[in-house]
Amino acid sequence: MSQPIDTGYLDLDSKDKTFLDSTEMVLNMGPQHPSTHGVLRVILKLDGEKVLGTECVIGYLHRGVEKIGENRTYTMFNPYVDRMDYVAAVSNGLGYCETVEKLLNVEAPPRAQYIRVIMTELCRIASHQVWLGTHALDIGAITPLFYAFRDREEILRIFEKYCGARLTTHAFRIGGCIYEAYDGFEEDVKKYCTFFLPKLDEYEELLTTNRIWVTRTKGVGILKPEDCIALGVTGPVLRASGVKWDLRKAQPYECYKNLDFEIPTGINGDTYDRYLVRIAEMRQSVRILQQAVERIPTGPIMAKVPKVIKPPVGEVYHSIEAPKGELGYFIVSDGSTQPYRVRVRPPSFVNLQALDTMVRGMLVADVVAVIGTLDIVLGEVDR
């Protein structure tokens, strides 16, 4: 046993507590901070380097998407949803189109469904690549950023060839797709799959057994499965805690029920497991792409939907598995050409709420790692 340290000479009871005074400190992080992935402001309450509590201040990117939705027709609102989660614009569009289709009681034809699935899975890979690059950069590994963005470029090229846009694609329309797959679309996707699998190994070579990476991520920001469910956390964060739940399997939409893939899960629910889960998810996406591209049926790409979309009176909630979690739309129709109410249930917004639980008791440097691992996009948090 070590001797208790004699602190008598410090005179801790004196009024002048400037020497070794340990009071709590409130530190402001952001909104202009490189590791907050946009404009997130976190107010940290610290005891030395230890985090005692956090408060997120959000809304800097609030554009009132839901209000805009009420003032646009169903068709006009479609491109707006791409601007929420702008690194996974295709998924946003898919969720919106499917919800309106549900309201109209139509279903996209099989060919359109396959094209949609291929586009969304490519988008999932692209979104995870942005996550990997920026998350690794936050922790101090610079190389993965260049690798990930280099490989993402090929996906954006496919998007550009398909619909002319790279980021905010507006690829789908209510009722199916507006663009037919271009000549060589299948070959491009197949080529990407064979190109990307070795690249994925390259990422893993850089990080999975890297000692610095492992030390910075293992045991950081642990989220227990019951906390995940109570906090409504979804997506890879939930799966990394060991809950095998993916909307593509639980409530399949589009043609996912015909495709064979697995749901990767983690065990510890820490930052390292979330990294592994997302890497494994990219592999599964490649698997889906390889199957889907072989099976694209021929046929129409648009269902029979009226020119002016006027869904009957009613309301519907529909959600899809976006790269970041459950992306839901709740649309109320009053029978007119404009939605009466559009509610977006954004995965980033709800997941960000878990930040406080994850960083309490950790160090300041871990806050940066945890913000990265939550994979939030502030455009979607603030809408």
């Binding site: 209000k67 409504g232 869904p311 009613g314 309301e315």
Partner: protein, 188 residues
Amino acid sequence: MKPATPAAHKPPAAPPKPEGPKPEPWESELVTALKQQYGSGILEASRYLGQPYLIVDSSILLEILRRMRHEEGFDYCVDITAVHYPKREQQFDIVYVLYSFPKNERIRVKARIKDGEHVPSAYPIWPTANWLEREVFDMFGIVFDGHPGLKRILLPEDWHGHPLRKDYDILQQDKEWVHINLGIESGQ
């Protein structure tokens, strides 16, 4: 001057559109049990396009939510939102989207409330309600009793007005706030 078109030349009225699907009664053990216990507190139990929903009286809302969580297994609160119907006496619909992991089922619980009426917070039942309720408060001005820190979340704290109410125009804004904080006459 434009000649007035005689009424006889009006195009014939379009044939009435076929009506959309109607909500159908939702029958299940859960609904029977709830109706037995709460009687007229359960105002409606229907399915629309295969999606079940309950409309309950706002006085038993918290009790129903608690029961959903602890007895019926709806462990995941997906979303809390509201819809404004200014012409109704009970102006707001407050909507809870719930999901059950063990059952893989999704339901919606709705309650109608008057303007200014308080709603009990669902935070003690699902911690995720914290931010979701703050957003509803921010956008609609609905106050949740028992919420740990009910304040605006997306808009600045000193903003006036609740933008998702139907009487709030899309171009409307808190001019005073914009003037003081941004130093410009208008944000438009």
